[in-house]
Amino acid sequence: MGKHYPRLRWIALNHQIPPKFFTKKIKITGDFLFKNLAAVIAASAIVILIITGYVLTTDSVPVIERFGTDFFFGTAWNPVEGREVFGALPYVLGTLVTSGIALLIGVPLSLGIAIFLVEMAPRSLRVPISYLVELLAAVPSVIYGLWGLFIFRFWILNYIEIPLSTYLGWIPIFSGTPFGLDLFTAGCILAIMIIPTVASISKEVISAVPNSIREGAYSIGATKWEVIRHWVISYGRSGIFGAVILGLGRAVGETMAVSMLIGNATGPAAMPTSLFQPGQTMASLIANGFLEATGELEVAAYVGVGLILLIMSLLINVGAHIMVTKVLKVKGGAVE
């Protein structure tokens, strides 16, 4: 220590750092301890993020080293020892297709609910209906799966899939013999599961639209629906967009209900060519196969799929956060 002292002194002299800098004592007080303890504990967030990133990257190294880009763009999935080959493409596409169906069905429904709750419902109905919609979020995913497996799947099969495949079966995406355990059913259950997320955020956004906007629109003779469609929705569209992206994030990461309803195809059979055929998403693949994985390479393959899922969900969520804040900053929440 003493050996370095002249050097420090030199730095202090030449950079005009007050000598006090080297002698400053940290006073240990209750406040100091409390603040820094809380700061250290608050670092748990980044610790969790780093641990997750570290485990998923290091544990998937074997499979990525062995197959390279084929892991991301291949379709085969064969865990038999000596002939192993793993490709994640069908599951990435399966995730995109089911989430897409969920958004197509779930977003209009959620917007309808949000509009009904804020603009149309009688005051006495608002609270009970929003409780019910929020309860949808409280039901555990595995119970959605159980209900889907024994009840919902037959609704979809009998009232949607069979008529569609009978009359529109010549369209490729409706081809095949519907069985009820397929991409479409999984997408529908996801649609129900994202409703509470999208509806409650859209509700907040719509009720934040100032009343002067509505009054102005009414005063030029617009009907209630025109006010909602052309003024309220346009005013809140950046917030609604954020709600939709958060719903997408939820749909992408949802595991249990999907794994019970999607039919569990693997390999090239899982490529989504028709909505009415068994498929697989990344999350459901891991849930269904992880425990049966035997070799080191197979475990690494599942972890690798998890890594792709993690990156996808990170991109969606970070993108949503950046986009929504940016949009809000530029426009100040106002109409263009």
Partner: protein, 276 residues
């Protein structure tokens, strides 16, 4: 002109009805779920079903496992989450806190199965070397911590600054102010947020698959595999036997009772407080 007006009026009514239909379409699944779970699950209920092992036709280990998981996770996750929240709310006016805040936001949207893989890699493989109860609890607390941190922050921010200033003016230190004045003022918000977070993790299934694995017997130690209700429901529902499926519905009834009673209790308790 008249016909145009009639058309606009028609459109107005049409979309009014359409929005009402949306509400019905969302509420029907919820009511159907509750109805089926009660109708199919209630006949299973008996003292034997609640306390004996699977071999004797009960789901005792699963109920015990879920309660242990909830307890352990709360023990790990709630103190960490609340302290993080305190930091974010009381000392959070800097870049470090802003970063932690957005990371917490991202973590709450993490796919839960990825959390399961993390706990598998760190605890099941590296630290303990077997599927274990503690691995499940740690995986669940990874989900719990960010939620509790954010809700704590939100409810602490609702406490008016004048309360803090009054305490500081009396000569209390910042830590004393936070612990004895700010936290009690935000008590009901804290309890609400924490209970909702606990309700959410008690239904999580995906991270449990590769951490606690499941067990046919009662609790055998923190480093041993353990049963849990969500896993029980999942495994039972995929069995081809009607008796196993019926057991799954019974387990679903218990789980939904735990989760919904937490939710409804919270809503009744906080009624009026968050009314807008």
């Amino acid at each position: 002109m008249i016909s145009n007006y009639a058309f606009r009026k028609f459109k107005n009514h049409f979309f009014f009805i359409l929005c009402a239909v949306c509400v019905v379409l969302a509420v029907v699944p919820l009511l159907s779920i509750l109805w089926e779970v009660i109708v199919r699950g209630a006949p299973q209920l008996s003292i034997n079903f609640l306390i004996s092992t699977n071999a004797n036709g009960g789901i005792g280990p699963a109920i015990q496992g879920t309660l242990i998981l909830i307890g352990l996770t709360s023990l790990i996750g709630i103190p960490i989450g609340i302290l993080s929240g305190i930091y974010l709310a009381e000392f959070g006016n800097n870049h470090y806190a802003a970063t932690m805040r957005s990371i917490n936001d991202i973590l709450t949207e993490f796919p839960s199965i990825v959390v399961g893989i993390t706990a598998y890699g760190v605890i099941v493989i590296a630290l303990i070397g077997s599927y274990s109860a503690i691995a499940g609890a740690i995986a669940l607390s990874f989900i719990l911590i960010p939620i509790v941190a954010r809700t704590t922050e939100e409810s602490l921010k609702l406490v008016p600054n004048s309360v803090r200033e009054a305490s500081l003016a009396l000569g209390a230190h910042k830590w004393r102010t936070t612990l004895s004045v700010v936290l009690p003022s935000a008590k009901s918000g804290l309890i609400t947020g924490t209970l909702l977070a606990v309700a959410r993790i008690s239904g999580e299934t995906a991270p449990l698959i590769m951490t606690i694995l499941g067990n046919r017997y009662f609790f055998q130690g923190l480093d041993q595999p353990m049963a849990a209700l969500p896993l029980e429901i999942w495994r039972d529902s995929l069995q081809p036997y009607a008796s196993a499926q019926a057991q799954g519905w019974g387990a679903a009834l218990i789980l939904i009772l735990i989760v919904l009673s937490l939710n409804i209790a919270v809503r009744l308790a906080s009624r009026g407080r968050f009314k807008k």
